[in-house]
Symmetry: C2
Subunit: 640 residues, 2 copies
């Protein structure tokens, strides 16, 4: 698949954008006109820069408001077009995007439109330019991709084809299957964009909220499948208008973009395989009688590269917290009932465990660094294959010093810089590397305990990137996102999980004001992250922790009154909840009990008990937690 | 008018919110249930705190999903209600907001609904509670305020009335005139919210984008007018769900909120006066034959306070820039053709002028402070009245040291901390205070020159606040906002202007990434602000400035090629534009020529020439300016 990206997706100058695209490994780019107009580089300089960087200049865009106009305006539009075609020849470019008219269209007549597009194709031919005509979702008369294609067929000129943009097609909920019947020669260009499903006017949605494939909710693999089956083999290029990407570091965004296309390529191949097996492909020959044989994918002009395959992780292997002074962490874990399993034989790290829940306390932190979550280990079938996949998806590798006879962890860095280690899982939930630790002090309680979920705060610039990272590199599935009120604003919460819920990762986007404050004080984060452990008997766990003097997050009495108003509750049970600072939730599938510890640095811990099929995280209780944590940061109700 | 605000509008803990409301001068508050549930204060503590602060507890809210349910759920809902009514009695509160059912409504039958609301009213009566029933815009069966009112009439119980919320009514574009026929006794509460006109689902619009009155586009004065005419005299309370307000400083947001109600009170009185004069009031007696007599407003139970009246400002009196090292500013102004008029006799400030455009250079800046726009003077009819109005609108007063015989400037601080001075205008555009300056060096050129517009960068937390500030305190009108692409993101641009365009102020909301960077480096702002001067002959001005060695913002050659493609242009004129780095725009009403200087600190200057009725700011050229300015900050195309 030939990969591309429009310069409008990225921040910075045209030159910075081109460099970032080359580093990320794109085959070509679309030059967005405004980036050229505002650049000090001459067209000849741009052509040379692209050649030096090994980047194709695949599309010049956009040329607007051409068709469906009265004769005098047509003349002016052809003059405009000629000027741009000359510019393209200086750039060495041969394809231009022409959008269906929004602003100046006056005559709704396909015959006239075809005649006008024919004049344009004729002029383009004289300049050696190919016109890719695209139906904008909000085009005045032409806003449907099949309509644009019909016009192209009517004109039937070698220099006129169509451009298919997934946003303009999927935002209108149009069926994509008809693409397969298109003549591939007439598909001049393909642009892909994903987007969250939003109910708003399509123009604003398009201009601000597009995201890279895998970061939204469009069925892009299917869209691409139809295009591949049509026989198209040209560039597949990202055109993403997104307020955040426009502000983010250009090289990083380009890598995120490239990752999305690599992932889309794999997903498209999977879609073709799956639909070939169902006979939808019209070419697959796998009969129902030979299930052992993988369904063969027909060969199409577009070659789709594949990635090393991984299954979703089987569980958390460990969580690692890091601090200069680790005393607070040790105290909390010990009070929760974790056993100190000893120190590593070559590194300054401790191992603490409760059942299969393992926490590494890393003492190799910078001076004065407050406790923070540093790394997560995941159990995978084959760490080497999983690591190869992640690296092909451009995940940065984490260097790790290893001594002889020690287990080698395959590590990659998540977008928020949490280190993700791909570990060899074992069926019984144990981990071989624990033998590298010396003898500890105490036996662990809570044999059934596991890591239930981990909650990581995300910087706003990298939230969408994180969703794609965990989806593509770790095979987690995003759940619908939620928003939780806190005293400093709404917290956006995105659950990433496996189908069996053995891994649950919660990505929280803290309010901007908190992130600004964090930026000014590197040693103290006002947002907090946590690790939650599941146990079989939360009341017993809480009571034991209380006896050991644990500093619980104190839940206000008003909460328990509200609980009693909301649910029918046994008075004795309610009294126990209140006594132990336990929170409670209930839904049609089960119950959820949980409590939180006080915070050290930016880390706190949660203990949970899931009863029945309860699958959530106690969302109605989240505002209580946020408010109490905020309150404990502002103990005197000081005027801010 | 009794003023109120819902605690959900503000950030922080309940106690912090209550303190901020008291400081801002609200009469009462609405307790949002979640703020109570998450608070460590007991209901009795909250009651006492409110009493100590002199705040009424006017509404407990919300009680959800009550009506239109099957019998077994009704029983559970009444149990829930009884628990809340008991809580309200501990709080000493007597009014509760009950929203129309969204989630659990199953039976669409007004008879049943009236019966169920009657049961609720009965129970409320036993607890001394009044139920204000509100139709949510997205209520399952009841989503129209007239429908809610009909149900209240059907029940006809003294403890059941309705709550009118401007968002739920105006977001659905419902006519507000029928409110006048309502029995005022049955209007238990009024909530006001403004909002920008957005095309999105009404729930998301409501939850994230409400703003304070005067910051959006709803016709709130008319809405209030109908309510006043109905005879309602209860609280008018703000209920604003807004992502930014939830994150902003609580005391500051409370002041902004209070300002919006003071302004709304005045606007409502004006609407009543205007519509009484037209005979719409049904009570006004001003006949067409006595135009000299102000139309009399009928006396209504709700008293509407008024403010000192001001007309829109007649023009800019001066602009003030401040720096530790002022050499760069002096050089730019001198090269532009400004004359140095001398130094102030008692202060370390210089006066520079060109025609009626006056720039004060203030040397009393902090050590190493880079040049920045510090103050703007506006010509008003009566500075004392204008200042009184601004202060009643809670604008902070700027202290100003004044010597004997010097003109006293009435100064207030804008939300971005720019100092706004209200100056005595003169018909000939001169300013009396210039006599306080010593003799300068040179005579000014450009006798027709004036300040055309000033462009101020706004912090994201205070953008809406700034719109209301300039609307209410300075009588400027907001124009529809625009968005301009820049290399670091979209810049939101909001023009505030007078009807004759003598004053044009442009508020720019810089991309967040820039604001974050600014926060980390107090001495260097990556965003820029500017002052634009209008002259009669821009080409001559530019040529003279070029001869004096002015450092023009360098416009890329690509811009002029694009200009030639977009417009038909005389080749000689195009060559002149290119030679002098002039930018050009044209629309149906006229033409616009302009150029920019290089930037010193965070300030640059613009010179403009308006031809014909051109009323804009060269918006198509703004991306060019942003890109070139960005480029000059990153001269080596360094990897960021």
């Amino acid at each position: 698949m030939r990969t591309g990206i429009a310069t409008v997706c990225l921040s910075g100058t045209l030159k910075e954008k081109m460099q970032a695209c080359a580093i990320a490994g794109f085959d070509g780019i679309e030059i967005f006109e405004q980036d050229l107009v505002t650049s000090p580089l001459s067209p000849e300089d741009i052509r040379k820069t692209a050649a030096d960087l090994g980047l194709g200049l695949d599309l010049y865009q956009p040329f607007r408001d051409f068709d469906s106009v009265p004769p005098e305006l047509l003349k002016e539009n052809l003059r405009r077009a000629a000027a741009k075609f000359e510019l393209m020849s200086r750039l060495g470019m041969d394809t231009v995007l022409v959008c269906s008219n929004v602003a100046t269209a006056e005559i709704d007549d396909d015959g006239l439109r075809a005649e006008q597009l024919g004049r344009l194709a004729q002029l383009a031919g004289e300049h050696g330019v190919k016109v890719a005509y695209e139906a904008l979702a909000w085009g005045k008369y032409v806003n449907d991709y099949e309509h644009a294609h019909r016009l192209v067929q009517m004109v039937d000129h070698p220099n006129l084809g169509t451009c298919l943009d997934s946003f303009h097609i999927l935002s209108r909920d149009w069926d994509t299957a008809p693409i397969e019947a298109f003549d591939a020669e007439k598909i001049f260009f393909v642009q892909v964009a994903d987007a969250p499903k939003l109910s708003m006017d399509v123009l604003s949605w398009s201009r601000h909220y597009r995201v890279f494939p895998g970061e939204g909710q469009f069925e892009l693999a299917k869209f691409m499948g139809h295009i591949v089956r049509a026989g198209y083999a040209g560039p597949v290029s990202l055109e993403i208008f997104n307020d955040v990407f426009r502000q983010s570091d250009v090289e990083r965004t380009a890598i995120d973009a490239m990752r999305s296309l690599i992932w889309l390529e794999e997903q498209s191949a999977k879609w073709l395989d799956a639909n070939s097996a169902n006979g939808n492909d019209g070419a697959g020959s796998a009969s129902a009688g030979s299930p052992a044989k993988a369904p063969g994918r027909r060969r199409y002009p577009m070659e789709l590269a594949t990635l090393p395959k991984v299954a979703e992780p089987a569980g958390f292997n460990f969580a690692e917290v890091k601090a200069d002074d680790t005393a607070g962490l040790e105290k909390l874990l010990s009070q929760l009932g974790f056993a100190f399993e000893g120190r590593h034989r070559t590194k300054d790290v401790q191992l603490w465990s409760m059942g299969q829940a393992r926490v590494i306390i890393n003492e190799q932190a910078a001076s004065h660094a407050e406790p923070a979550i540093a790394a997560l280990g995941f159990d995978v079938d084959n760490p080497v294959i999983a690591s190869a996949r992640a690296q092909q998806l451009k995940a940065p590798v984490v260097p790790r010093k290893v001594q002889a006879d020690e287990e080698v962890f395959q590590g990659i860095a998540a977008p928020d810089s949490t280190e993700i280690f791909l570990c060899q899982g074992s069926p019984d939930g144990t981990a071989a590397w624990t033998h590298e630790f010396g003898d500890g002090l105490a036996a662990s309680s809570g044999t059934g305990a596991v890591i239930d979920h981990v909650n990581l705060a995300q910087p706003w610039q990298h939230f969408d990137e994180a969703v794609l990272f965990y989806t593509s590199a770790l095979a987690l599935e995003p759940a619908p996102f939620a928003e939780v009120p806190s005293p400093t604003g709404l917290v956006r919460s995105q659950v990433m999980q496996t189908s069996d819920r053995a891994v649950r990762l919660v990505l929280n986007l803290a309010p901007l004001i908190q992130q600004e404050q964090d930026g000014r004080d590197a040693h103290h984060k006002s947002y907090q992250e946590h690790i939650a452990f599941a146990v079989d008997d939360l009341v017993a766990t809480a009571r034991a922790a209380k006896d050991r003097g644990l500093d619980f997050l104190q839940i206000p009495a008003n909460y328990y009154e509200d609980l009693a108003a909301r649910f029918y509750m046994e008075p004795g049970f309610l009294a126990t909840l209140k006594e132990l600072n336990l929170l409670y939730d209930r839904d049609s599938s089960g119950e959820f009990l949980h409590f939180y510890t006080a915070t050290v640095g930016s880390v706190f811990f949660e203990m949970v008990e899931r009863r029945g099929g309860y699958d959530g995280y106690g969302a109605p209780n989240a505002p209580v937690r946020h408010a109490v944590q905020y309150d404990s940061l502002h103990p005197d109700h000081a005027r801010r």
